[in-house]
């Protein structure tokens, strides 16, 4: 079975994480979909329950009743159903009832990008990089301008319905300073979520990918290095993932870009247009004095 392009890329397995950076490694092949991480996160961070949809609070289209990351949901377990079509373990959308089905469960989270779109966008400086190389929104500074929301390539931060400030995963900053691991990693019964220094998590992730591929899971690959996920100027993510299907299956972009890469070129093109308009206006308005 072919290896993915990412495995052939010289960027595979490299990130720009700073020395001592801490982060997550979330392994889709180990997740059993128990949502202990979601619950532990809400408990530790005192986040209210999601009201869900409708009277039941159930989506009705999957076991995923959480649906998305948001202001009060900082871990989200995605549930993907796939039907087996061929022996070489190529999977596609669910087949007829009764046909063999595979489950993919993935606990999504803020990626704590090495270069973070949310952080660079924030006009108040509310979003900071911590001593652990994680990305945190200071709640006493945020004024709810909302610019970080569309500036995140992964759809993570969101303004709270009640306090109108931006919220997202803090990688349990308040636990890290006391030497504790984040609540979600602590609660995960299968070690699908691991916490630790990126310098340790990265080789572990690569080993795991190799192991899965040897076992015949052809689509196994790392997400969050410079080759996939941490692309486009982000220089990698401090929340790494081992995926067994294309990232898009989990709503993750394969090759996202740091939005701020566009700022300087766009300012230059706008300045050129401005000069053209000045000259044009001068020509049109010119008259005898």
């Amino acid at each position: 079975m072919t290896l993915s392009t990412s495995d052939r890329s010289p960027l595979t397995g490299t990130t720009g994480a700073r020395a001592g950076a801490l982060g997550f490694l979330t392994d889709v092949s180990l997740c059993i979909g128990c949502k202990a991480c979601e619950v532990a996160c809400k408990q530790w961070n005192q986040l209210p329950a999601d009201s869900g949809t409708g009277i039941t609070g159930l989506t009705g289209f999957s076991y995923d009743n959480t649906v998305d990351l948001g202001a009060t949901t900082w871990r989200h377990v995605a549930f993907v159903e796939q039907a087996a079509t061929t022996v070489d373990r190529t999977w596609e959308a669910p087949g007829a009832p009764g046909s063999p089905t595979a489950w993919l469960m993935l606990s999504d989270v803020c990626k704590h990008c090495v270069h973070a779109g949310c952080l660079e966008a924030c006009p108040t400086g509310a979003i900071v990089r911590t001593e652990f190389d994680t990305v945190v929104i200071q709640q006493d500074v945020c004024n709810g301008c909302g610019y970080c929301v569309p500036a995140c390539p992964f759809g993570v931060p969101q303004l709270g319905d009640t306090d109108r400030k931006a919220h997202k995963c803090t990688l349990c900053y308040d636990r890290l300073v006391d030497g504790l691991e984040p609540a979600c990693a602590k609660a995960c019964p299968t070690e699908s979520i691991r916490f630790g220094p990126i310098a340790e998590l990265l080789p572990r992730a690569l080993d795991r990918v190799e192991q899965l591929q040897e076992r015949g899971v052809a689509g196994a690959h790392l997400y969050g290095d410079r080759a996939i996920g941490g692309t486009g100027g982000m220089e990698g993510l401090n929340a790494l993932f081992v995926l067994t299907a294309p990232p898009e299956v989990f709503n993750l972009p394969a090759a996202p870009e740091l939005p701020q890469r566009k700022v300087l070129p766009a300012l230059v093109s706008t300045a050129i247009a401005a000069v053209a308009f000045i000259l044009g206006s001068g020509a049109a308005l010119r008259g005898r004095r």
């Binding site: 072919t2 596609e92 500036a151 690959h221 299907a245 294309p246 299956v249 308009f277 000045i278």
Partner: protein
């Protein structure tokens, strides 16, 4: 990415679900969405909360900046009988600028914390740059309008009036114009520097597009005021029309380049109510109709020509607002479409799997 083979979807709810999974919002047929990118059609990124307050800010801020620039240029190269262009431009700029900070502060989730914008200056954050740029430009616009009012004898002969008369109106204009142009155009850069497909796909053209629209709106507003003033020399009106028509052509060219460059990402601009506003408001009302009216006006004379010119100006002004509206609204629609987001961020080799149609 050729390797991870299984192009699948989370399910056959390909589209039309909002992020809380609530039912379909219409949308195209989902046959092709059964096998497509994404997860139950749930948006892959979050859209901003920006609505009318921001749309109006983009519009007024643009007019304020462009009117200031036009006033400075008219002072510098205009004929002596065109003085009124500079005068009107300065008043107009200040009047359009006044609501801008109010709109911006009201749009914040926590308006009482607006001042925290002034904690930092971040060169890679267009919103931070814009905060400082708008503030600095506000200073220039206020000084210029004070100088103008003093020259016009509106500030009296007291201490303030005499001081204001000494202000170097032309030098202020020259110094403030770069900031004015920045204010007129940076809003396009602000949108371009996000993950929203429709804003970031042709990032280089959004700033110039907003700038062009700011110029056409500002010139039309000046034309409108001039047309309503008695005793404006025909030559002045003629030169303003010449400027207005050429800005409209420039705006049309940039709009077409932007719209075509978007490819399938630009689909929200052609569909439903937004599509109608694009066709009737931006293109029809904002560009085509005024050009036709000005062409007719150029071969007629007297009161009729003046009426045509007034209608044309109003039409351009409405089109400028329509442009800001459709860019914001269609951008939000594209942010809600995981095919647009994931198609744009697909790795090499996967375009067919992730085609946005």
């Amino acid at each position: 990415m050729s390797g991870p083979e299984s192009g699948t979807t989370g399910g056959d709810w390909g589209e039309g679900r909002d992020r809380r999974g609530r039912g379909g919002s219409g949308g195209a047929a989902s046959d092709d969405a059964v096998i497509g990118p994404g997860y139950y059609g749930i948006p892959a990124i979050h859209k901003p909360h920006w609505k009318w307050l921001i749309i109006f800010y983009f519009y007024f801020g643009g007019i304020a900046g462009a009117a200031y620039a036009v006033a400075t240029i008219a002072d510098a190269v205009g004929a002596s009988e065109d003085r009124r262009i500079g005068r009107i431009g300065r008043y107009l700029s200040f009047a359009a600028l006044l609501p801008s900070p109010i709109l911006l502060v009201l749009d914040l989730g926590r308006p009482e914390r607006f001042f925290l914008m002034f904690r930092v200056l971040k060169l890679r954050s267009p919103m931070s740059l814009g905060t400082w740029g708008l503030t600095a430009f506000g200073g220039f616009s206020a000084l210029s309008v004070a100088a103008q009012a003093a020259v016009d004898g509106r500030l009296g002969d007291g201490f303030v009036g005499r001081r204001a008369q000494q202000l170097p109106i032309q030098a202020l204009g020259v110094a403030g114009t770069p900031l004015a142009l920045f204010v007129a155009g940076y809003t396009g850069v602000l949108l371009a520097a996000t993950a929203v497909p429709l804003w970031t796909k042709r990032a280089l053209l959004l700033g110039p597009l907003f700038l062009a629209s700011a110029f056409s709106s500002a010139v039309s507003a000046i034309e409108l005021i001039v047309a309503l003033m008695p005793s404006t020399p025909a030559a002045t009106r003629h030169r303003l029309t010449r400027l207005g028509v050429s800005t409209l052509f420039a705006e049309a060219a940039i709009f077409i380049a932007w719209r075509n460059g978007l490819g399938p990402t630009g689909r929200p601009l052609g569909e439903g109510a937004t599509g109608r506003v694009v066709r009737l408001g931006v293109v029809g009302g904002g560009i085509a109709l005024p050009l036709v009216l000005q062409a007719v006006a150029s071969v007629t004379t007297g009161g009729f020509a003046r009426i045509l010119s007034v209608v044309s100006s109003v039409s351009v002004l409405a089109g400028g607002l329509a442009l800001r509206y459709v860019v914001v609204v269609a951008g939000n629609t594209s942010a809600d479409d995981p095919r647009a987001t994931l198609g744009m961020t697909a790795a090499d080799g996967a375009p067919e799997r992730l085609s946005t149609h």
